[in-house]
């Protein structure tokens, strides 16, 4: 009997082609869309195209599955998504950090709940349309490699997946380029072939996270406390509308007239102040990471060298990673890095191989 795989389908071209390729490789393919949120709850522009979790996207998945001859289901995971991802997103901002909701969604929803559902209905694997590959290492561990299409490094958001989950995952697009994937979709006449992609946070449909935070808190009868914007030299420069609306490295939106450009340096939720200063002082050479997960590499016992990436659009920089006894790691970069931001993921690579990652403390 062919092995059975549950393909996570967003309604975009990548997951459509992933399903198609697996079908061609002889797998027994089942498509599923994770319904994670509703416009009624998250607000934003319901008429914006190309978003997952909309009726139109679900219809696209359904039609693609029919075209490739696979059954299709919608799995309602909105309660868990709301609890694990959205709540975390809001709480992180409220604690002065800048979250990566996609990382949490991958670690806690896709590679836990979706995988569980797949196993419940008798599937051997789950599959996604990520541009990355999963590789069994010599020591038996599972590693993740960046996809060959250098323009889309999706490995960064995959660092939190457990070894067991990786052993049950297929990523058929890792060795392909986006342009080729579109070409395949066109050749097979998949209706998602020309769909544009969204790289922003899915449940913040208008990409305005401040609007989202404001509405989320208002609905729950909570508000944000205004406070001072303080320069690193101690002078008070102005007022902020709530520290949650600021992120380290941010330049725009301060509402302060100042002879030199100002950048957010630090968010101090205890004193309820946003600290701003020059670009120069944003550069630091060390950080501490918590909630560490080891991927291609067994949990490190001594320091090692790696290329370390501190945000999605960051060029990995050489550093030494030192594991500490409490499970956290201390990272020292060879060169100073700009705007090391608490709450963002930090991921360690050896070339294109993802070794592990954590959250910047």
């Amino acid at each position: 009997m062919p092995e059975k795989v549950l393909v996570a389908m967003s309604g975009g071209v990548d997951s459509s082609v992933a399903a198609l390729l697996l079908k061609e490789q002889g797998y027994d393919v089942v498509g599923a869309h994770m319904k994670l949120w509703d416009y009624v709850d998250v607000g934003g522009d319901i008429y914006k195209d190309g978003r997952c979790c909309t009726i139109d996207s679900i219809t696209d998945c359904r039609m693609v599955c029919d075209a490739i001859g696979a059954p299709f289901y919608v799995l309602n995971m909105s309660a868990r998504f709301s609890e694990k991802v959205i709540e975390n997103f809001v709480n992180e901002y409220k604690s002065g950090r800048t979250p990566n909701p996609c990382v949490i969604c991958n670690s806690d929803i896709k590679w836990v709940e979706f995988l569980r559902k797949a196993e419940e209905i008798g599937c051997d694997y789950i599959a996604t349309g990520h541009y990355a590959t999963i590789e069994k290492m010599l020591d038996g561990r599972y590693g993740i490699r960046k996809g060959v299409d250098g323009t889309r490094d999706q490995a960064y958001v995959l660092w939190g997946i457990s070894q067991r989950a990786l052993s049950k995952t297929l990523m058929p697009l890792g060795k392909r380029r986006k342009a080729d994937v579109r070409e395949i979709a066109r050749r097979y006449n998949l209706r998602t072939a020309e769909k544009t992609e969204s790289r922003e946070i899915c449940f913040v449909a208008d990409d305005d996270y401040r609007r989202f935070l404001r509405e989320y808190e208002e609905k729950r009868g909570r508000s944000f406390e205004p406070g001072d914007i303080v320069h690193t030299d101690g002078t008070v420069l102005g007022r902020h509308h709530g520290t949650a609306f600021y992120t380290v490295g941010q330049r725009k939106g301060m509402g302060i007239a100042h002879p030199t450009p100002l950048y957010v340096q630090k968010i101090d939720t205890e004193k309820n102040v946003v600290i701003v200063g020059d670009n120069d002082t944003l550069f630091r050479n060390e950080l501490k990471a918590e909630s560490v997960n080891w991927v291609a590499m067994a949990p490190a016992e001594k320091l090692f060298e790696a290329e370390v990436k501190i945000r999605y659009l960051h060029q990995p920089a050489p550093a030494t990673v030192t594991p500490l006894t409490d499970g956290t790691v201390h990272i020292i970069f060879r060169d100073k890095q700009r705007a090391i931001t608490p709450g963002q993921s930090v991921v360690f690579f050896d070339g294109d191989l993802l070794l592990g990652g954590g959250v910047i403390a």
Partner: protein
Amino acid sequence: MESVYLDYNATTPIDPEVVQAMLPYLTEGFGNASSVHQYGRDAKVALENSREQIASIINCEPSELYFTSGGTESDNIAVIGTAYQLRKKKKHLIVGAAEHHAVLHPAEHLHKKEGFGLDLLPVDAEGFASPRQLAELLRDDSALVSVMHANNETGTIEDIKTLADIAHQNGVLFHTDAVQSTGKINVDVKDLGVDLLSLTGHKIYGPKGVGALVVRQGVKIAPLFFGGSHERKRRPGTENVAGVVGLAKTLEIAEKRREADFTKLSELADYFIDSVSRRIPDVYFNGSRQRRIPQTVNLSFEGIEGESIVLSLDMKNIAVSSGSACTSGVTEPSHVLMAMGKPAVVSQGAVRFSMGRSTTKEKLDYVLAELPPIIERLRDMSPVYDR
């Protein structure tokens, strides 16, 4: 692989006899029932004959019967039309907590957007609304009470006559959604004593896209559509003549078969419930064994999600449902079972098996063979099931 359809409460195939009755009105008898010429007259006659035929089956006056596109539209016109008609004096609604969304959502809309007061009439563990509680909720400014005749998820049959009586004693109009009961049990509008009643064809081997709303003589409702004098201006739009002819034929056949089907389906359902209970531990029956549409069998399997059971059965070509499915196919936790006070784990583990004319003991035996290993596998994986 064998395939078994057990989702007749969702919809049914059209009876070939109904198709035959409809065909002439889809082809040569295509006229617009409002036209003055012979084509129009023929269509109009077919429409009015069907109206009389249906009225006589459900015991109402032909002039009380308004054709619609189906149950959802009938429910919306009943709830919103009544509310708009009475809004100057009466701005309070009472609807059953276990109603179909076609009643609940318009009522919630009126509550949230148009300032109507709304109370949900609770149901007990078997899904029955209490007349005493209805009496307590009724107010001087209550416009409408809406309680469904038979529940789509559990089949529970409400005592509509008693509930309508209480509403009337307080001068309040009463609507019942009879979508799941019409053609399956005796639906007698006069005997039920309701002011408004919704019905549809596709749950009883009729075509989709046609239904009716009964509006008792003298009851005024505001129209929601404008654009013609069709259906006494209460529901303008070119009449769906073929659909209405099909609906009449559907009800005629259903009425003829009703008692025999009821007996046969009761036996099959009892056989199924008892067999499942014997073969699988920790199964709960949701609803009333005694007073329900017999073909509706709602079971909860402790420790597992209904969704996983439905998907696993689909892979064995067995079609059932959990909760109620909306257009996107998303399974929501059942508001019906929640209203019946079932704990969330029971509501989530619920699966509805609904039987119909082509259900046989052999087909149920196939399901009875496939179901236990699926439940066992899911329970082995379940983090919450531990026996």
